[in-house]
Every structure is written in structure tokens, then in C-alpha cells.
């Protein structure tokens, strides 16, 4: 089963193409992570999948339909996005921001219904934010803020979650916190998760499927043990990696590395 079929897309800003003719299928009900060096187009691919960017050529197919032909509100009921640079306006409280996640399910001017409250409270609960729900967001720490945005995406109640570097700027414990939460949402509720991560070891440990990119092209894709190999890491990142097996996930992780000569 696939959640998305990306079919020969070309994407770029104004006159420079960032991605040229890329095709990839993203499996349903699994955690997929896109990896690659800075500027390789992984965020661009994620934005294309999530319809923030429109492909110049090719198409993104969601449930058998071109994503741009589906009503954007319909898509929003199936797929929630956490952008890399999400920043809340000042004065907004945690509850208020999370409640905006219900927008795709609301009609017109009506305020929150009972069902909306149920989802909002559930989202606050699983992200451990219930105690902070009436705090202004700017009074929270970086890790808590990130969880607020995730809670908003969860309140949207979608099968698919798309996250662009959800662990950036967080310390090690908070990074793990977020990733374990995503893993739980995937394992227990079967949600499809697609994300970009910079930390290779996290990507390998928490993903069912990896997509490695370089210079706008797909280099390799597959299960972590297939993608996280010395030769692939050489090709993608220009590093000589010293690999071993992660004691927690049994997937390969990189102990240390050197630049290729």
C-alpha cells in the first residue's frame, strides 16, 4: 500500500530547478524519512508532497488522485503538515493554537463543537501539554513549543503526518521524546509519517523506510539496513562511516565518520 505516488516531478523556484524528474512511492502506515546533505532538495520534496509547492512537471498522487485536483480542505482532512519554520504569533495560548488544527473539519463561522474538544484534549494529552494549555506559547521552552505544533497537527486528526525536521534545535532527550511520540502514533494508530531528519542515527532507528537524496535526485530508497550502508553514505554524504547495529532498533547506526579522501 502506498500513501503517495510521486510521479516524475520537477520542482523549482522561478527559473532554477531543484528537483528534476523524481519518482518515488511512500508506503502507507509506515514511518518514512528523507535524508540527504544540505540543499539536496529534501525539504522541497516534502513541500511538494504536502502541496505547499506545485510541481512544474509530473504529479503527486494521493489516494489515486492528483493532489492539486483534490479540494485543499479535503486534503487537510487526510494530511497534516508541520513546517520547519513554524512560529506562533505572540500572545497566542497553547489551547488556541492547537484548536486551529480543527479548521478543516469546521464549517463557516461556528465555534468549537464537542467533537472538536475531544480531539484537542486528546492531542494535548498525548503531547503532555495538558498542564500548559492556557499558557502563552512564547512562555514555553523550545521543546514544548515544538510539541504544541505537533499537537496542532494531531488535532487535525489525519491519517498522514508530514514533518520537516521536527527535532531541530531540541536537546537529545527532547528529540527522543518527539520521535517516540511519532513512533507511538504510527505503531498504535497506524498513521503514516513522512519526515525530514538531519540525524542519520535517528532516521535509521525510527524509520521503516528511508529515502536518500543528493542534488535533487533520488540516490537510493528502502529499509534502513539497505540504505544505511558504507557505500551509500559515501555517495550521498561523502563520508566514510563506521557502522554498527543499534541495540534498540537493530537497524544500522553510524558510530563515527570521516570525510572521504
Amino acid at each position: 500500500m502506498t500513501a503517495f505516488n510521486v510521479d516524475r516531478v520537477a520542482v523549482g523556484y522561478s527559473n532554477s530547478l531543484i528537483i528534476d524528474e523524481l519518482s518515488v512511492s511512500i508506503p502507507k502506515g509506515e514511518i518514512t524519512t528523507i535524508i540527504g546533505p544540505n540543499g539536496c532538495g529534501k525539504s522541497t520534496l516534502l513541500k511538494t508532497i504536502s502541496r505547499i509547492l506545485r510541481a512544474k512537471n509530473g504529479s503527486v498522487i494521493l489516494d489515486g488522485h492528483d493532489i492539486h485536483r483534490l479540494g485543499t480542505k479535503e486534503v487537510a482532512k487526510k494530511m497534516a503538515i508541520l513546517p520547519q519554520t513554524a512560529e506562533a504569533p505572540g500572545g497566542l495560548t497553547v489551547f488556541e493554537l492547537v484548536s486551529y488544527g480543527r479548521f478543516p473539519h469546521q464549517k463557516g463561522f461556528v465555534s468549537l463543537k464537542k467533537e472538536d474538544y475531544t480531539y484537542i484534549h486528546w492531542a494535548l494529552d498525548v503531547t503532555g501539554l495538558m498542564a500548559f494549555k492556557d499558557r502563552p506559547i512564547e512562555a514555553l521552552s523550545g521543546g514544548q513549543r515544538q510539541r504544541v505544533w505537533i499537537a496542532m497537527a494531531l488535532a487535525q486528526d489525519t491519517e498522514i503526518l508530514i514533518l520537516d525536521e521536527p527535532t531541530t534545535y531540541l536537546d537529545m532527550a527532547h528529540q527522543l521524546d518527539i520521535l517516540l511520540l511519532l513512533q507511538k502514533l504510527n505503531r498504535e494508530e497506524g498513521r503514516t509519517i513522512v519526515m525530514v531528519l538531519h540525524d542519520l542515527n535517528h532516521a535509521s532507528r525510527f524509520s521503516d523506510y528511508l529515502i536518500a537524496m543528493k542534488e535533487g535526485a533520488l540516490i537510493t530508497e528502502g529499509k534502513p539496513e539497505k540504505v544505511m550502508t558504507c557505500s551509500n553514505l559515501q555517495r550521498v554524504f561523502q563520508i566514510d562511516a563506521n557502522l554498527m547495529t543499534c541495540p534498540f532498533s537493530a537497524n544500522p547506526i553510524c558510530l563515527s565518520y570521516q570525510l572521504c579522501q
Binding site: 487537510a76 497534516a80 508541520l82 495560548t93 488556541e96 479548521f103 499558557r135
Partner: protein
């Protein structure tokens, strides 16, 4: 860190606060309008204001003064204030730029420029058409500022837009003055350009009203989308919003509001900057409340400024543009220093 009682339960208390601001503001506005009508060269009692409005007698001089001079003037002030305030609120929400204001982003100067041309070439053009020139000019100003701003590398930062706005405003202002000098209409333009509602006639209000009504209804309908847009474009798309459509409709509303206001009072700045920030501080971040409250508080600010303009140095009138700038400039500097995480 911040856990005062005021901040700890805004979920329920915010709509209540908004309603208090809305109705309190309306009450204050009515009072200010009454005061403004009664105050002037000819002393008129508040009671006379009441009878002039509700049981008009054409034989009483005071009633005539109120009907023909003071009432249109104060209503004009209220309308113009509402226009600038809502235009500012919409722009700040759509662009996430805390410094957005039709005065700072060249829209007012553009409208004023087109009006100068209009006065120079067709001095007897009816106001019904004059206002269309003002809309056109507002669009021109916005177009040039966004054009100049986005040409620079690194895109449109709040500060860059304001700088482009200042430069374009200065240029358009100079061109307006050039037009005024060349066509010898400086006298007509000078006070109008400095900002004043003293010349407001019923015809202005009649022509403006349908535009304003449509734009205000549009703004209220759009308000929920503006709230979501203020979370950022990508988040807004993710929530299933048609961000491009919303921005285009929002911008058209801004141009109508600012254009209409400038055609009556001239290029008065800072109302659109100060009022939405004050409103946001009072009622929180939901534009479904910010827009209606901005209408009321914007009206109140300009009616008071107009009243103050007549009281400072009677019998002369201080330009209200200058009076509002007196509050607006320090506020702008404060926001600019804060770096604008406000929106």
C-alpha cells in the same frame, strides 16, 4: 514563567473581554461623537446635539450647523478611522509583518498622488469618480512598494518593506507636490494632504458608505482565514486554506479601505499601525474579534484626534495627521526595536 491570572484562563475570558471592548468602545465612541459635535466655534449644548439629530428643526441655526458641518465631519472622522484601522489589521495578519500599515507601506501616498493628479487635471470631477482614482492610486503605491521590496535579495522582511514604503512614499509625496505647484493647486491640497476631516460633506459619506460597507463585511467574513494566515503561509495551506485567494481578496479590501479613507482625509498614517496592536493586546489573537474591535477603536481614535486638533490651538485647527503621528511615531519605534515577534 508567565502565569498571572489574566493569562491563565483566556479561553473563556477572551470573548467576554472582546465584547466588553466592543460595547465599551461603542459607548465611548458615541460620547466622543457627541462631544465633538458640541465643541467648536459656535458653542452648542449636548442637549441641542440630541435634538438636532432626532428632532431636526431647520429654523434653528445650531441645528443647521450640526447638520451641515459638524455631523458629516465627525462621521467622516469615524469612518476614516475604521478604514485605516481595519486595513492595518488585515495587512498585519496577512503578511505577519507587525509594521504593516497603509501609511508605512506607500498605499496612502499612492492614493494621495493619484488624487493630486485628479485635482490638477479634472478639478470639477464629481467625488463619485474621484474615489475611484484614489483606489487606483492605492493599488499603484502598494504595487511599487512590493515590487521594489521583492527585487532585493533575501525577500521581503518587515523592515525592508517599511524602507521601501518610506522611499516610495517620499517619492510619491514629492511628485504630488510637484503636481500641486505646477498646476497651482497647492492651497487646495496642502491642508487636505496634511490630513483633516473639516471638509467632509454628506456627499463624501454617501459615496463612501457602500464601498465601506462591502469592504467591512468582506473583512469580517475573511477574519477567520486571516487568523490562520497569521500562523504562516505553510501552516495555513496545511490547514486547507486557499492562501492565494485569501491574500488577493484581502489586499483588494485593504486598497478599498485605505483608498476611501485617503480620498476624504489625505494620507494620515499610523492609525492602522496603532489600533490593531492595541486591539490585539486587549482581545487576543482571533481576527474575528480584532476586526470588529478595530472598527470601533479606529473610529474612536480619529474622532478624538479630530476633537483634539480643534482644542489645541483654537480657533486654528492642528492637522490630525500630525496629532496621530505624535502617538504613532514613538509606537512605531517601539515595535521596530522589539523586532516584531508580536504578530
Amino acid at each position: 514563567m508567565v502565569a498571572s491570572s489574566e493569562l491563565s484562563a483566556p479561553k473563556r475570558s477572551r470573548p467576554i473581554r472582546a465584547i466588553i471592548v466592543l460595547f465599551g468602545g461603542m459607548l465611548a465612541l458615541l460620547l466622543a461623537i457627541g462631544l465633538s459635535i458640541s465643541f467648536g466655534a459656535a458653542d452648542i449644548q449636548l442637549a441641542t446635539v440630541w435634538t438636532a439629530v432626532f428632532s431636526f428643526n431647520p429654523d434653528v441655526t445650531a441645528h443647521q450647523i450640526i447638520r451641515e458641518i459638524r455631523l458629516p465631519r465627525v462621521l467622516g472622522a469615524a469612518m476614516v478611522g475604521a478604514c485605516f484601522a481595519v486595513a492595518g489589521a488585515l495587512m498585519q495578519g496577512m503578511t505577519r509583518n507587525p509594521l504593516a500599515d497603509s501609511g508605512l507601506l506607500g498605499i496612502n501616498a499612492g492614493a494621495a498622488f493619484m488624487l493630486a493628479i485628479c485635482f490638477a487635471l479634472w478639478p470639477s470631477l464629481p467625488y463619485l469618480y474621484v474615489i475611484l482614482f484614489s483606489f487606483l492610486g492605492a493599488g499603484l503605491g502598494a504595487g511599487i512598494v512590493y515590487g521594489v521590496g521583492s527585487m532585493s535579495r533575501g525577500g521581503l522582511t518587515p523592515m525592508r518593506l517599511v524602507l521601501a514604503g518610506a522611499a516610495v512614499s517620499a517619492l510619491l509625496g514629492a511628485l504630488s507636490e510637484g503636481v500641486a505647484l505646477y498646476f497651482r493647486i497647492g492651497q487646495d491640497l496642502a491642508f487636505w494632504y496634511a490630513g483633516g476631516v473639516s471638509g467632509t460633506k454628506w456627499i463624501h459619506l454617501q459615496v463612501m458608505s457602500p464601498w465601506l460597507l462591502a469592504a467591512m463585511i468582506g473583512a469580517v467574513i475573511l477574519s477567520r482565514s486571516i487568523t490562520l494566515l497569521s500562523l504562516g503561509e505553510e501552516v495555513s495551506i496545511g490547514l486547507g486554506q486557499r492562501t492565494k485567494t485569501i491574500k488577493v481578496v484581502g489586499m483588494v479590501i485593504v486598497l478599498i479601505l485605505a483608498g476611501a479613507a485617503v480620498s476624504v482625509v489625505g494620507a494620515v498614517g499610523f492609525v492602522g499601525l496603532v489600533v490593531p496592536h492595541l486591539t490585539r493586546f486587549l482581545v487576543g489573537h482571533d481576527y474575528r474579534w480584532i476586526i470588529p474591535c478595530s472598527i470601533v477603536l479606529g473610529s474612536l481614535l480619529v474622532v478624538l484626534a479630530d476633537l483634539g486638533a480643534r482644542m489645541i490651538n483654537p480657533p486654528y485647527e492642528t492637522p490630525i495627521g500630525a496629532l496621530i503621528a505624535l502617538i504613532g511615531v514613538p509606537f512605531f519605534l517601539y515595535l521596530a526595536r522589539k523586532g516584531g515577534k508580536e504578530i
